[in-house]
């Protein structure tokens, strides 16, 4: 089992990608449920391939929550089928269906499994969990949602995502709460238009990819490891840029999708919701800046016994810095 690790992973990864496509492009709700089931069936072997206690517990918790959510989803599909309520969107059955899809995604108030599981996975599995696993529940959410319920869930997502990350020292849990916060933005963008959601999702997954690849290359899982490294100045700068971009600060790439959403909010007079979006973004930027400020100013140690040779991978880091800094400005040149 140790030798053909990569071919196992490729097989299950292929089925994972295919399951999302099945779920999105199906004609009926049963096809959607089948896609979600295949998603669960193919993700569990990806995350439970080592024999230590942590990965067993992680895969167990993931299995329990996801299987409960998809079984509840199927039951609500059957209730909808039997009551023949196919066209009216803002009713109680849509609340139940949306609840089970929100539990699949890890959105508040069903988010309690998410930081636990993110803490137990490696960085690449985390990347899969935070980006690809959100596609299929979100698109299914866009097919049949209850507007008032979802706006309430969005507010809870934003608040829990921002306040939950304040007391974390593990980088994975920090990114997990940031992911919950960004889920709030993404659910709102799905209610606006699916195109906008795709835009937000692509930019978010690109930002998360840059951060996770940086943490993966340097094998960093906790915040104190950021401070006792022998890091090159440019790597730290890249980290700063990525954190600020993820938080949504203006000259960087992460500001653009949030700008478009805020534009929509203000034009359509959602003033209270705009206030909550703004304030929770502020809290998130606060704890990112807290990390980077400490790393640059107070804890600028370069311990000689930690040797991070990053000479071969500098091109990836330079490219990602370039994309983060300049893509918002360059995009205005394209669309002018």
């Amino acid at each position: 089992m140790l030798t053909n690790n990569n071919s196992n992973k490729m097989f299950f990864l292929f089925i994972l990608f295919f399951s999302t496509l099945i779920s999105i492009s199906s004609n009926s709700w049963f096809g959607c449920w089948i896609g979600l089931e295949i998603n669960l069936l193919s993700f569990i072997p990806l995350i439970s391939n080592s024999k230590n206690l942590l990965s067993v517990e992680t895969s167990l918790k993931y299995f329990l929550t996801q299987s409960l959510a998809s079984i509840n989803f199927l039951f609500m599909i059957l209730i909808k089928f039997s009551l023949l309520k196919n066209f009216n969107m803002n009713n109680i059955i849509s609340i139940m269906m949306n609840s089970s899809l929100l539990m699949k995604m890890g959105s508040a108030p069903f988010h309690f499994w998410f930081p636990n599981i993110v803490e137990g996975l490696s960085w690449m599995n985390n990347f899969m969990l935070m980006t690809w696993q959100k596609i299929s529940p979100m698109i299914l959410l866009s097919y049949y949602f209850n507007k008032n319920f979802l706006i309430f869930m969005i507010i809870m997502n934003l608040i829990i995502g921002s306040l939950g990350g304040l007391n974390q020292t593990s980088l994975r849990k920090l990114l997990a709460f940031s992911s919950i916060n960004n889920l709030g933005w993404m659910i709102f963008s799905i209610m606006i238009s699916e195109n906008l959601w795709l835009f937000y999702f692509l930019i978010y997954s690109m930002m998360i990819f840059m951060m996770i690849s940086l943490f993966f290359l340097m094998n960093m899982y906790f915040m104190n490891q950021l401070f006792i490294n022998n890091m090159n100045f440019f790597i730290k700068l890249n980290l700063l840029i990525n954190f600020l971009s993820l938080g949504g600060l203006p000259p960087f790439m992460g500001f653009m999708p949030k700008w478009i959403i805020i534009n929509f909010l203000l034009i359509n007079k959602f003033y209270f919701l705009t206030f909550i979006f703004m304030m929770t973004s502020l809290i998130i930027i606060y704890y990112y800046i807290r990390i980077i400020y400490s790393s640059f100013m107070f804890n600028y140690f370069k311990m000689k016994w930690v040797n991070l040779l990053m000479k071969n991978n500098m091109s990836l880091i330079n490219l990602s810095s370039f994309i983060s800094i300049s893509s918002m400005i360059l995009s205005t040149f394209i669309f002018m």
């Binding site: 024999k51 206690l53 517990e57 895969s59 167990l60 299987s67 079984i71 039951f75």
Partner: protein, 96 residues
């Protein structure tokens, strides 16, 4: 108490299955059993619904295949847990 509609039975079964799933149990196997109980209630519901569409039971078979796959995945995770922890008690979760 007269039940005027068969759907009450399904909702009751589903609700009881969910209740046992979320309750504090000592063993993991009870949770997996409750999952299978919910699957059973959905199977029954599916059967009754599909009877009204001229006995078209093919979707029921597809559902059965997927539920069995999911149940066996749960059991394999149980086996993996017993291999590493030695039992399937919930109290042995202390890492996360």
């Amino acid at each position: 108490m007269l039940i005027y509609d068969i759907r009450f039975l399904f909702i009751y079964m589903f609700f009881v299955g969910n209740l046992i799933f979320v309750s504090k149990n000592k063993h993991l196997l009870v949770v997996l059993l409750s999952l299978e109980f919910i699957v059973l209630s959905i199977f029954f519901f599916f059967l009754v619904l599909l009877m009204f569409i001229d006995y078209d039971m093919y979707m029921l078979m597809v559902f059965l295949v997927f539920s069995v796959c999911e149940g066996s995945l749960g059991l394999s995770i149980l086996v993996s847990m017993i291999r590493s922890h030695g039992n399937d008690y919930f109290q042995s979760f202390s890492m996360l």
